[in-house]
Symmetry: C2
Subunit: 377 residues, 2 copies
């Protein structure tokens, strides 16, 4: 063991950066594996092993240098992590959980087998399977890649045969599955943290908005009845308890017209829908995750303000990054800007986010939207 | 101008580190001048020019690399900064203010000339001056060095002739002055921020406790009457308005038995008595300072919790740094630990601080003290 303990993170993007910013004040050093030059985490003092997340040597080196290992992304070589864990590396959440979540179809099977409510789904191994699924699901479905989907990539809504043909052609040889399209009333999400002793802390249920399949807006807390809130917390806690390993989990849900909660997707890590916690909760999701994976106790997940809104700053152009109008944005009350140090800007690239807190959700959202409209990137 | 704007900080200790942690999410790069190896700011991603703070070449290099320059400490070559400012460097607060504050005697003269209440003081150029001062001040006074005093060094309480002789011998050839000892009821402090347009934001008045002349405990807000609170805010704002340049100023005050506020000392920078703002105010003093010196608008300085306590983690031993019992400390509610990444530990070296928030000051202080007692370093 080092005299200064080291957190190793697979991935050094914005999530790795914000984990690093949370780890340093707790006295940890941080090492990340990331393929980019001077990745966002390295800019805030993480040491970087510059390599692909599937690079076995890099992951081995990480486990030699770090006391505790975690991930900021699930697209990595989980087999290598499993082998390292068997060799004694302290990896959280467990590589088994990461493996499970990598395969969205297996993730759904896992949840369904445990009686956790999910939308209907089926494997798609052929055009015939896909056509059958579209018919079974009432003529509208989502065709998804089992692996590697992220921020809307690998995820297409299908409403007729020609859309189906186009999607199958685009996905090519990728393994696929289909889900019934849920005409949801709201999209909800919650961050659930579990420490190494199995203690669980649940953050407030939030409401999310997606554009082009990317989470763009989060409102905390969600504007839902107590009964739905309790149902969502119960389902989400149940999900988290099924997953092995410590850490923070992001759980995305649909609320349908029948006022049922369906689990949409699980992230075995800090998540965009928890960014608001940085400026609204006693313990941010990033500090919470660092605490959880390093054997420290969980902090309070309660909000210290009545309401918060988070808006993602997505790139508007393909060009070297220039941020404009920060002055106007920061002139608004209780407005916090978190930039990720990425360059170049690309269309829809996650460049940062804005958190606004207020006495109610409506005000927070209004201020946040105005701030986002002002900011150019 | 760089496409990514750069903040230059003279000094890369804990204050430079926390300024860096605040600057990065706003999109700034940071460069610091600091003589130490891998200084606390460098550990969180600041680039370091490794040099003494009186090194003219290093300060010149800093001004070439940075768009905005500030300081984390006033013990530096202010003449060089003045020259750089005349050459166009954007330095805040103004080098003139830093110069003034470097000389504690001139600082007192400046305040007294502006009718700002301070304890009686007088120049000490000889043993005769000192003896006369002790007599004039009723047999108890503080003998202080005019320059370079910090955390109690250069500051001695004198109650008789033999103490006076010992102090004069110890201070040797240093230039000195003497102050009447104020039998204070409370020590108060306040952080005041001013942006480049002259807008001022005042943080709550806090109560400070010093041990061995080092600030060890801060309670926010101070337990004082409205009338005293208003008096303190008025005096502090008046002081800040007399000082040139943008930034955060730490203003230390005495409350005496006659319920008068006397200004004790000014810091032209973020300050220990403002560390509680990191976990208790909408805008931390560090973000506020970065905003102020880079031409951004000030954020809200209000507290979002009813009460907070800050306790400094002072080194207990001279040895390589090992932090123990962090687990026990973080098991307490609303307890935040901020470590500075320093090694070795030295007796009374500032190694970090603990912030606790609560529904009242008594609870916050109790939890913070228990946490500090648990933590070993």
């Amino acid at each position: 063991m080092n005299s200064v303990q080291v957190i190793g993170i697979v991935g050094g993007g914005q999530l790795g950066r914000m984990l690093t910013l949370a780890a340093k004040p707790l006295g940890f050093d941080v090492v990340v594996v990331d393929p980019g030059d001077n990745c966002p985490a390295a800019q805030v003092g993480a040491k970087q092993i510059q390599a692909d997340l599937y690079d076995e040597n890099a992951l081995s080196e990480l486990s030699e240098r770090a006391d505790y290992i975690t991930v900021e992304i699930e697209h990595l070589d989980a087999n290598v992590l499993e082998r390292l864990a068997r060799g004694g590396a302290k990896i959280n959440p467990s590589p088994k959980t990461i493996s499970l979540i990598q395969d969205k179809y297996e993730q759904k099977v896992f949840l369904a087998e445990r009686s956790i409510p999910v939308a209907e789904f089926t494997i798609v191994n052929s055009q015939k399977d896909a056509t059958q699924a579209l018919s079974n699901f009432g003529g509208v479905m989502l065709l998804k890649t089992r692996h590697g989907a992220y921020d809307g990539r690998g995820n297409t809504k299908i409403t007729n045969a020609s859309e189906l043909d186009a999607a199958l052609a685009e996905f090519g040889s990728k393994t696929l599955y289909a889900e019934a399209y849920v005409p949801f009333v709201k999209e909800l999400a919650v961050m659930v943290a579990r420490d190494m002793n199995g203690n669980v802390a649940t953050y407030p249920i939030v409401e999310t908005t997606h554009e082009r399949n990317i989470c763009t807006i989060v409102q905390a807390p969600a504007n839902i009845s107590n009964s739905i809130n309790n149902q969502a917390i119960e389902v989400a806690t149940n999900v988290a308890n099924q997953l092995e390993g410590a850490g923070v989990f992001g759980i995305e849900m649909f609320l349908n017209k029948q006022e049922e909660i369906l689990i949409n997707e699980i992230a075995p890590r800090v998540h965009n829908s928890g960014h608001y916690t940085m400026d609204a909760c006693y313990t941010s999701q990033f500090e919470q995750h660092i605490r959880a994976i390093s054997g420290l106790p969980l902090g309070s997940s309660a909000m210290y303000v009545p309401a918060a809104a988070m808006i993602n700053i997505l790139g508007e152009h393909d060009r070297p990054t220039v941020v404009k109008n920060l002055k106007e944005v920061l002139s608004k009350p209780a407005t916090h800007v978190h930039l990720y140090g990425k360059s170049p800007t690309k269309v829809d690239r996650k460049m940062g986010h804005i958190n606004v807190t207020a006495i109610n959700a409506e005000t927070a959202l209004k201020v946040a939207k105005a701030a986002r409209n002002k900011l150019e990137i």
